[in-house]
Amino acid sequence: MFIYITKRLLWVIPTILTVLLLLFSLSYLLPGDPADIILGPRATPEMAAELESRLGLDNPWYQSYLIYLQNIIKGDLGTSIFRDRSVLKVILDVLPYTVILTLAGMGLAVFNGISIGLLAANYNNSYFEKFLTMLSFITASTPTYIAGVLLIVVFSVNFNLLPSIGIGDGGLLDSIHHLIGPALALSVGWTGYIARLTRSSMLETLDQEFIQTEKSFGIPRYYILYKYALKKAIKPIIAVIGLGIGRLLGGAVFVEVIFNRPGLGRLIVDSVNERDLPLVRGGVLVAALLFVVANLIADISYAYFDPRIKQK
């Protein structure tokens, strides 16, 4: 298990280095003269020069790359062009919101998805099951932004039940109140996906022979369902949760834009639009790191649930 994890970790390093190289090369790849886009019609040549040196465009690329790497190792992601603050700080300020949103979304998706899936598995081959299956297909086919818009139309505009924007005034209750809509919108797609996965995984597990052993030795049904079968059936779901956290991280872009919440996703969208290069680099780097970590956790927890890998 330890070896497995180290191996997985070591494999991540070159990946991250390459990611960094790609991010670095953004300044050469992004079209348009950065100075013009960034400074607009009010630019003076001196300002442009200063900006170029800030973006590292005045050195040969490999030198700049090394400097960039050095800085990153020091934890310095540069300074945002428009915010006059360090990129790291800007990101760290908004990151918690994205993380909370993503986790809440995933939590909802897992909870609702597994519940629907278990119900469907339990009532297999009934009309109720067909209804649940269709429900999970439909939710899985609802993109985050559509869910978000619909939630706003229904709950904020028509019934005025949920706030449509923002993160609230900082109080816990208000924060939660403001989180419901976004988290729900974010979770919708994965709810259906997890429900389907749970159902099929559960059915497959219940069909296996060891379940008969357990039954035949008099272990009660609820115990078999929720202890024995669920742990086995949950494996593919766990694997998918890690993936899902990454996907939801992406989906958070939409939710954050629609619900006007601060967060990494919106930060990246804004900075891409503004051509705030250091911020684009920093934001994407952090998103990639989070994503890689989520995948890593998924792999490891997958291994944890599969004793065959665990032992290795």
């Binding site: 079209p31 019609p41 915010r83 603050r85």
Partner: protein, 486 residues
Amino acid sequence: QDDSLNIAIPGRAQTLDPAYLQRVLSDWPVMNSIFNGLVKYKPGTFEVVPDLAKEWEISEDNTEITFQLKEGIEFHKGYGEFTAEDVKFSFERIIAEDANSPEAQSFINLERVEVINQYTVKLILTQPMGRLFTSTLPFNAGLIVSKKAVEEMGREKFASNPIGTGPYVFEEWDVNNNITLKRNDDYFEVGAEYGEIVFMPMSDPTSQELALQSGEIDIGQLTLDNFDQISQMEKFEAEIYPDLAIQYVAFNTSKEPLNNKKLREALRYIINPEEILIGAFAGKAERANSILLEDMTGYWQAPDFKLEDVGEDYVWNLLAEAGYPEGEGLELEYVTDANEERRLIGALIQDQLSRFNIDLNIEALEVGPKIDRWQDGSYDITYARFTNTVDPGYNFQWNLSEQLGKWNLFHWSNKEYDNLWQEAETTLDSNLRAENYKKMQQLMNDDSIGIWVTHGVKTPAWITEIEPVFSPDGVILPWLISNSEE
């Protein structure tokens, strides 16, 4: 909280240092509440009245202006009394070599600032400066910062911890980019009524609208289409203000085929700005016939080219004369960015041109590539919005020859225009300036380089409990907001 107001701004503020203002729409209302200038626009007008200055005197040759300052005004947070030193510091930091301030242009002819005594200060100009009182001093470049604060904090920190003399004191700039201001209880004039103001960035008008309805904000913008519906609600009031900016269709006059004036004329008939006003502005925006608003110095109304007036045949003829009988084979390229309004406008123009068999290829680009294309001139038609100030000199500068390859979207160069502009810049004679600007507009009109469409609109809306005051172009003046129920 009754004592607090939430105001939406259309985007994240970028800096609160007046010398580095980036985004007029979001930065300006905040700065305006924190700082004062020597002079200001009288609320609700563009008339210039004293602010921190009591009075001033202009020398004969118009190059020396001496200000008498009000006494006993304190900076926020104990940064001491406001004196002539602060004025000198505030202006000279902008024109300093290493300042890189985008406002350097605003003080283009300022040589130095002389402190006569604690309450007297003199601006020394190299040449007379037409825009000094119209746009430089009453706008952000003229705001006075605390010398002590800037020197203590350094520029970077000051940008997010501004110290001024204004009616509101900066309190906090949080993760959400919400900016909180607290009332300045020692304000030298009548203080503000509301104790706290929070500026909340909301880039998209639909969000502002929703937020207004759900009570998250007290003042925001409405979308044009919902304006009527929401302004009729009992809970809200709203008003339409013309914007100061200019939005226009620009023809690329230095590239085939639109280097042909006949063709440009034909296009002026074919493209119907009225439809644009309806389609993209819900009929709420006024037609613009000039770069300037109607009551500004130098306003000249460009004639309207209406298809109804001349008839289709006339246009067909123009096309034929330009070498495109029946519009055959005319294919134009329209470059725009992903902004939704502008895409709609593209679609409209496309349809209008198609009625004359002209093909319009729309290329909607990212802002970066779009500016690239603008600058290297590889397009035929584009649509642009340029921010204006109250001073025409600023607004007319983009069409100068020196702006070719930069922001001259017509790719149009006219010596006479250049000279007229230069002359107007260096005089304080407003009649002469007005004359020159009118002539410049005629020149543009004669060459049919584009179509002024609209100045745009601002549609602020607010809850009925409050009574806000706006500048003529619809910018909120937060410290003047009063409670309408009292």
